[in-house]
Amino acid sequence: MTDLTSLTLAEARDGLVQKTFTALELTDAHLAAIEAARVLNAFVLETPEQARGMARAADAKLASGEGGPLAGLPLGIKDLFATKGVRTTACSKILDDFTPPYESTVSAQLWRDGAVMLGKLNNDEFAMGSSNETSCFGPVVNPWRRDGSDAKLVPGGSSGGSASAVAAGLCLGATATDTGGSIRQPAAFTGTVGIKPTYGRCSRWGIVAFASSLDQAGPIARTVRDSAILLRSMAGHDPKDTTSVDRPVPDYEAAIGRSVKGMKIGIPKEYRLDGMPPEIEKLWTDGADWLKAAGAELVEVSLPHTKYALPAYYIVAPAEASSNLARYDGVRYGARVNGRNITEMYENTRAQGFGAEVRRRIMIGTYVLSAGYYDAYYLRAQKVRTLIKRDFEECFAKGVSAILTPATPSAAFGIGEKGGADPVEMYLNDIFTVTVNMAGLPGIAVPGGKDAQGLPLGLQLIGRPFDEETLFSLGEVIEQTAGRFSPAKWWA
């Protein structure tokens, strides 16, 4: 039998239906892989018993031909998603061993469709980070290494556990969330595919909130097709989230292989940064050439407010976070550090419960919402946001079907290498991705090449609102040409 952990999700699905192997065998293979890859620190909680139980149930359904679209497919769940009866921490000490009595809508839909939960995946604390180094469970290790080096690299963040686990073959796919690039940047760093759908496409109910107006769930998977299969199950209207949108979920998989002939692809000139590494330049040109070869038409477009996106993002996101994280006060659940009075209890609990990056963002957010600063910061940032949105609208109004950019300004970097003295150094990782969250648009990251040291690099495609299908069609063109990217296995 082939190594079951090297299959794509689509291949595994077909194998299960054809009864080439059972869901239990598939799950056991992944549980073994997880155990052998603990050095990656991708999982913060393994749930083997639950996984085997779900796999057996899937086998029973598959036997009677009643398996759902994801029957028996083992997945990892980012620890930001509430999982009923299973510890959910957002990788923060402040949640301690919080075990929710409820299941997030997105994960519930995966279980509804027959998927199997392998465990909870590491992430930056409260999804605040771009390297998965802010997790209270410690950093995640990227399965990729530079050629001839055994230096440990970050997998990106905040969905670093998801990206690392998918790249290392520990699960067939994973849930992730993206507030400023937290799906696409780690996907790019690990040679995987990640899509942040349109804001409102997936329910946020039961996902620990970071910045409500930007947060959106999506999958990380090994192929474009796999991400399309997963998104179909994750997406959909939820009356419990009034920002989720009531429109039918298309069969995204059907978009794979659809012709891109005649599509206008925008190349935004403002994304051509000064001092952009030549390998990123080349990646971008390659991607454009491949799409052109497939019949698409390339047009230069302008998104003039791009340069304000990152500063505006670092006002809006911390502002919302400072309020969203106020509920972690030690009163009802999670960690509590007592004090002589209620104020001291709050101070002790929050000072010890939150990590440095989370505390920094709470303070930034509190500051920008304060009396006398609100207009200068928050209100202006919201105006910038409107302008960024308009940039995209004007671009799409000219008949552009999607916009092609690099996903990140560089390949994965070393653990401990960035952001120690200057947090902005880390924030710059999101330079190509935050605009998409600010505008609420869908964006997909697809591996497109490698840097000089053999590390994967990702391309980003940005689509019209609710036109994820076009992104899958275009993404698959890139994937077909660039090929798939798998790290050499050094950890087991």
């Binding site: 009034t242 502002a319 509920r327 919402l369 304060s370």
Partner: protein
């Protein structure tokens, strides 16, 4: 209102007269089955933490969903206050830490409330009325409750109220006396109860007020105000204003400044005390709640609610005056409480001839029924005499079956023993005698035995009253007084 300030409304200080300026923020709990953003019950008095959803407890990843029933109630209230209804409004977060506030913020409406400017006409005991402007009405969540008496060293939290919908109704600073402020709250409460948007139960905390008080020389610039938080009875509102105004005048007359601050009313001592100064005031860091889209509805939605609005006290009062010739005072008494008006209308509905006897019925409701209820300390809901019974008594007077005097006896019987008034009149022989022959016979008898008085009455017509009394006495009060009068006049040659 400045133009209408009367000398009697001013407070005399050592340095001359002072005018009080009062504005109120009334918090009214919305009558609804479930909370503003969750499906948990709003029922009062459950076991602590028995009406708490995951949203109310602010569990990680929980999201608010607007309860449409609360929106409807807020719009209806706005319509009742003749206010601007905003078709687009925004929910904001008001951020502060307190253990009774699970989210760490209260969802409220800050810059764009659901209801804008309106007005309330307030009738005063003097017979005057004033118009109090409404600045705005917005929806917000109530907080939970801290219990400090359950444990020696810890406080407990009860989240049953957490997330219950409140309407904050902000008046303009249009009131000048504590009487006006009390009358305003009473009128506002009455309107809310007519609408069924708030039960107005101040003992349960369904209605409470933050009272803003400042003083100034008449017609001068506004003084610095103090806000007295959470006053929970109309009487206390009056006491708090009186105390606070005199406190401020005392300070100003001693040459001191008024500090803008939040104060508490101590009902036991009848005084206000400083709670926190402006410097200690929270910076609430309001911003639009990103979990909720702006609230939008159509004018058609508002129109449909408007069409189904019940008749409100002012309209009802005007109708009572117009249709039944009630005095404004009587009409005002009847409409001031929804239950009184409902009772009166129920009586009207049972009357054989409401157009004729409507005014008589009003007199009976106000004087006999309310008087008796007050005496026995009953509310109208516990009245031993039903609207049907009272209507029957009024009918009996109206169709001249009994006299007003007999009616009072009949009312007492019905109050004590119950029963059908018409049947009681029959069985107890209380029927008024309108048989002219019978009355004539009595009149003849009385004239016959009092020839001297019959002679005197021709010179002193007022003496007829003595004859009337004699006839009524001998008929046991049952003779029709009008008939007695007529017959006496003709027999005595007047």
């Amino acid at each position: 209102m400045n133009a209408t300030v009367k000398p009697s409304q001013l407070i005399k200080g050592a340095t001359g007269d002072w005018e009080i300026v009062i504005g109120l923020e009334v918090h009214a709990q919305v009558t609804s089955n479930s909370k503003l953003f969750s499906g948990a019950s709003t029922e009062f008095g459950g076991e602590p933490n028995s009406h708490v959803s995951l949203v109310d407890a602010a569990m990680p990843g929980m999201l608010p969903v607007i309860n449409e029933a609360c929106i409807r109630q807020a719009v209806r209230t706005g319509l009742g206050l003749k206010a601007q209804i905003n078709l687009r409004s925004v929910f904001d977060r008001k951020n502060y830490f307190y253990p009774d506030l699970p989210q760490g913020y209260q969802i409220s409406q800050y810059k764009s409330p659901i209801v804008g400017e309106g007005e309330v006409i307030v009738d005063l005991d003097s017979g005057d009325s004033i118009t109090v402007g409404i600045e705005r009405l917005h929806l917000e969540q109530d907080a939970g409750k801290l219990l400090h008496d359950q444990h020696a060293t810890m406080s407990f939290v009860d989240l049953n109220r957490s997330g219950v919908a409140l309407m904050e109704i902000v008046s303009k600073p249009d009131m000048r006396t504590s009487e006006q402020a009390k009358a305003y709250v009473a009128k506002l409460r009455s309107i809310l109860r007519y609408l069924g948007t708030c039960d107005g139960d101040m003992e349960k905390g369904s209605l409470r007020a933050d009272v803003n008080v400042s003083v100034r020389k008449p017609g001068g610039p506004l003084g610095t105000r103090c806000e007295i938080k959470n006053v929970n009875s109309i009487r206390f509102i009056g006491q708090a204003i009186e105390y606070e105004a005199r406190r401020q005048i005392g300070i100003l007359e001693d040459g001191g400044p008024i500090d803008q601050e939040t104060r508490l009313f101590d009902a036991v001592k009848g005084e206000t005390r400083s709670m926190r100064s402006k410097e200690e005031a929270h910076d609430y860091r309001y911003f639009p709640d990103p979990d909720l889209l702006p609230l939008e509805f159509s004018q058609a939605y508002v129109d449909a609610l408007k069409a189904e609005l019940p008749e409100l006290p002012d309209a009802k009062k005007a109708r009572f005056i117009r249709d039944f010739a009630l005095s404004p005072d009587d009409a005002g008494v009847l409409v001031s409480e929804r239950e009184s008006a409902d009772f009166y209308e129920a009586v009207l509905g049972k009357l054989a001839n409401a157009a004729r006897d409507g005014k008589l019925a009003a007199n009976w409701v106000i004087n006999e029924l309310f008087g008796r209820l007050n005496k026995d300390g009953h509310g109208i809901a516990a009245s031993p005499v039903s609207a049907a019974q009272l209507a029957a008594i009024v009918d009996l007077i109206g169709d001249a079956t009994i006299s007003g005097k007999i009616a009072k006896d009949l009312f007492e019987i019905v109050w004590q023993e119950g029963g059908d008034p018409r049947a009681l009149v029959e069985t107890r022989g209380m029927k008024q005698v309108t048989d002219l022959g019978a009355i004539e016979k009595v009149v003849d008898d009385i004239i016959a035995v009092n020839p001297d008085k019959a002679a005197q009455v021709r010179d002193k017509p007022a003496m007829i009253g003595w004859f009337v009394g004699q006839v009524m006495k001998s008929s046991g009060g049952k003779a029709n007084p009008q008939a007695v009068n007529d017959i006496l006049k003709s027999k005595l040659g007047l």
